[in-house]
Subunit: 509 residues, 2 copies
């Protein structure tokens, strides 16, 4: 018997637990709007487009700031914002899957009592009961993974070109990881070709991303950097995407559940062999522990959870996530804007100062009473210093604003993904409440209720374990990223000061 639907809860949206609209409106009034604030520049023929920054690729922002009346769920996720239509479409596709990765009927089935699927020990996902609350059991074989050497490759006799990246799991544990974790279909040949290199295209990343999203509906899968059609072979873009893919892979590696996914191991270890790759892909496609079924693989503490406490946790976290989303958007917008100003406006201002001092130097050069005191040369040196400082401004964003912007961009995606995890728990809690009500009023047999409560607790346990993981990761991420940003800024201003010190020595005091 299917569970009755609760009509008052909109499926899969985030519907206003926190006063999103008021908050967003308040923010909008003060928010940086790069398109309103371009510095007119009669010297510079380049426009004020964010993409126009020389020498670096900037991740796109949402093309329009969210309208004050839009609900949170309807704002664009980062990988929906690509300007190329087809890329936008593909990315939207993958996000949609992550948003409602399994049918409602499948969720209902799971809550009541699904068809049992055999779970091997390797497939089990453990939640430990720690003194701080439920936690994912750490991955016993932690590892990292590098994405490098982007190279243009082609197939069909050069008819189709693409960029492929080399994927290498961390060397220190490489052997152990490869022997213990690589998928069965790869293992045999691995033994004979340890040196074979894994090369992956963006479409492979897209495939593994879709798989993880489908398999782990209770986890916020970090979105990929968006696909791009035009300019995808440009050096800046390739480097930017490699950085983002590297960061994406690292984030999966750091996750205690995702990092143990056999399909992910297939993705990072399978050598360049079409047959082996397809075999692993087929295994993944035949995996029955996906969607609602994956909850059967979760081994969690037996203690039932207090539904009021779970509700409060969800509410508190939703409020926080809303605030974090707004502030991360604003901060990323500021990073992009500052990077642009460094490369355009600040550079131009220093060029102007340089030009003025150079003119002054040239005037003193024509001084017929030049006493050889070197004033003209000193002024020229000073002009060069300001020109160099202008160039320092131009090159600086890659040391501070760009990496910080990249992290914030990732977080915008993570936050968006988390909103679907929130929705899942919310749906489950609503169904549980309805079931309790129905049982009380005789519309549901009483012996079905413990199943439902038990299974809804599993979803809640997974949620709490993931919240704890997310908290630890974001504290580390932000501390590290901002410390690195500040170090970049400190050394930047120090370098300017030092450079001017060299100029000062040329003047007679």
């Amino acid at each position: 018997m299917p569970l009755p639907q609760e009509p008052s809860i909109p499926g899969g949206t985030w519907g206003g637990e926190w006063s999103a609209d008021a908050f967003r409106k308040e923010l909008m009034d003060e928010q940086v709007r790069p398109e309103d604030d371009a510095w007119n520049n009669p010297w510079d023929p380049r426009g004020t487009e964010l993409r126009d920054r020389p020498g670096s690729y900037s991740p796109p922002q949402s093309p329009m700031p969210p309208s004050p009346t839009s609900s949170f769920a309807s704002t664009s996720p980062p990988n929906e914002s690509a300007s190329a239509p087809s890329s936008g479409r593909e990315s939207r596709g993958s996000v949609k899957k992550s948003f409602n990765p399994f049918a409602k009927s499948s969720l209902d089935e799971f809550l009541i009592g699904p068809e049992k699927i055999p779970v091997t020990e390797k497939e089990r996902i453990y939640i430990d009961d720690t003194e701080n609350g439920p936690r994912w059991r750490p991955n016993p074989t932690e590892f990292t993974c590098s994405v490098s050497s982007p190279k243009k490759e082609s197939k069909f006799h050069g008819m189709k070109s693409f960029i492929a990246y080399t994927i290498v799991p961390s060397e220190t544990r490489e052997e152990r990881v490869r022997s213990e974790r690589s998928c069965v279909s790869c293992r045999v040949s691995r033994v004979f070709s340890k040196q074979s290199v894994s090369r992956r295209r963006y479409k492979h990343f897209d495939w593994i991303h879709t798989h993880l999203t489908f398999k782990f509906p209770f986890l916020p899968i970090p979105p990929l950097p968006e696909k791009q059609i035009s300019g995808r072979f440009e050096e800046d873009f390739i480097e930017y995407r490699m950085t983002m893919l590297q960061s994406w892979v690292e984030r999966i590696c750091r996750h205690p559940v995702l990092s143990q996914s056999e399909t992910f191991h297939h993705f990072i270890t399978c050598p360049n062999d079409e047959k082996m790759w397809k075999a692993g892909k087929r295994r993944a496609e035949n995996d029955r522990l996906v969607g609602a079924n994956i909850f059967q693989a979760i081994e969690r503490p037996h203690k039932p959870l207090d539904i009021l406490h779970v509700d409060a946790t969800l509410d508190g976290f939703s409020t926080f996530l809303g605030r974090l989303d707004e502030s991360v958007r604003l901060a990323q917008s500021t990073c992009l804007d500052q990077a642009k100003r460094y490369q355009m406006d600040f550079k131009r201002e220093h060029d102007r100062v340089s030009f003025s001092f150079s003119k002054l130097s040239k005037a003193f050069e024509t001084d017929p009473f030049n006493d050889g005191s070197g004033l003209s040369q000193a002024l020229q040196e000073m002009s060069t210093a300001y020109e160099e400082i202008g160039t320092m401004y131009e090159m600086q964003p890659k040391h501070d604003w760009d990496p910080l912007s990249n992290l914030l961009f990732e977080y915008r995606g993570l936050i968006y993904s988390f909103s679907s995890v929130n929705s899942l728990l919310k749906d489950v809690l609503a169904k549980r409440r309805n079931a309790e009500k129905d049982a009380k009023e005789g519309r549901l047999e009483y012996d079905q209720l413990p199943h439902i409560i038990n299974h809804s607790d599993t979803v809640a346990y997974a949620f709490e374990a993931e919240l704890a993981h997310f908290q630890a990761v974001r504290t580390k991420d932000f501390n590290k990223a901002i410390a690195s940003f500040l170090k970049g800024q400190i050394s930047f201003y120090q370098k300017i000061s030092d450079r001017l010190g060299t100029s000062l020595q040329k003047f007679i005091m």
Copy 2:
């Protein structure tokens, strides 16, 4: 018999020895035009007027950049550019006097042989023949003078208000200066009132400026900061004007000829006694050694000068002065523009960065899983750091851009004044050439020629001595001003770096 007029030389203009128009046009194409380049600022209701800078007074630029076809002599001197009409008028008056301080007939008279005026030893102006060429004999009693304590005073029972400044000659030599140099009319009372303070109003500065301009037509008298009607009691303006008057007085004190002027000594030493002040004023008005007559007071080497060499010197210097004028204008415009950007745009950008990090901090404050790692506090501290850096940008111009701008403003005036000195020599050389031609062709008696040549050499000697002085002073001025500017910039960037270093310590690395 009056000298025949040479119609081909326009009286008192600079007429195109250097390719001013081409050079100016080239410069105009690249020049900073603050009015074209205002940064749009939706946050800031203030306009982009240069005068709008908060917390400081900026010297005005010429209201319009010179049109590419205007001749040098027709561009506005600094003290013509005041926006208040009456101030503009007054200033123009004083500049006009300096431009043609004595009638042509008086110059003719001097060249042929003027009425002898008795010159006392104290009134003599010596030009020494050094191995480097003609030089003013240094002032044996060098001194400086401070302008301080601007205070609003009034007379006619409060009907008329004005600002008066305290003038104090340098203490170390004060006694000697006062006893040896103070004017006769002041000396007696001085002995009895050593502590009496000299208070001077702007109109007194204006009077001494006019006197010096009239008395020493062969010297470029530095112009005064412009008179201002509206806002003249505002603190920023008063402080700015005091700085400029101080600098003006110092420049007179540093000049070997001007610093020995009895009237100038009267100006800096006469106590606040109406009777004594008027007595000194009357003496100055009765001074007959003014205008063309002052050349009678010049004692210079007997050796006649090579007119071709003098011509070449004048040409070379005119070219240099034109270049210097253009580059000083551009540099001053850049200083004003940068000061404005520091106080408006750079400050605003740092405020935005601060605001973004503050929002991020506030979001983390609402984190229900706050682990006490202090991320929110660290972000707030960082936000404060950027806010403080914004304020540092706002306050910085007074330590670097403003003082440099002030020096450049003074030089624009000096260069302008020098153009009338150039014109004087040019007129004299033309008259001498005509006289030589007339003598050859029998239109002038031959015994008049040596007088004319002798007296034109006196003007040329004075010119060369003044060029040498100007050269020494400007090398010192620019070295000092730019070194001071660079020191300001170096310590500024160092402070920013240090401030961010404090923030960095709050993050866990």
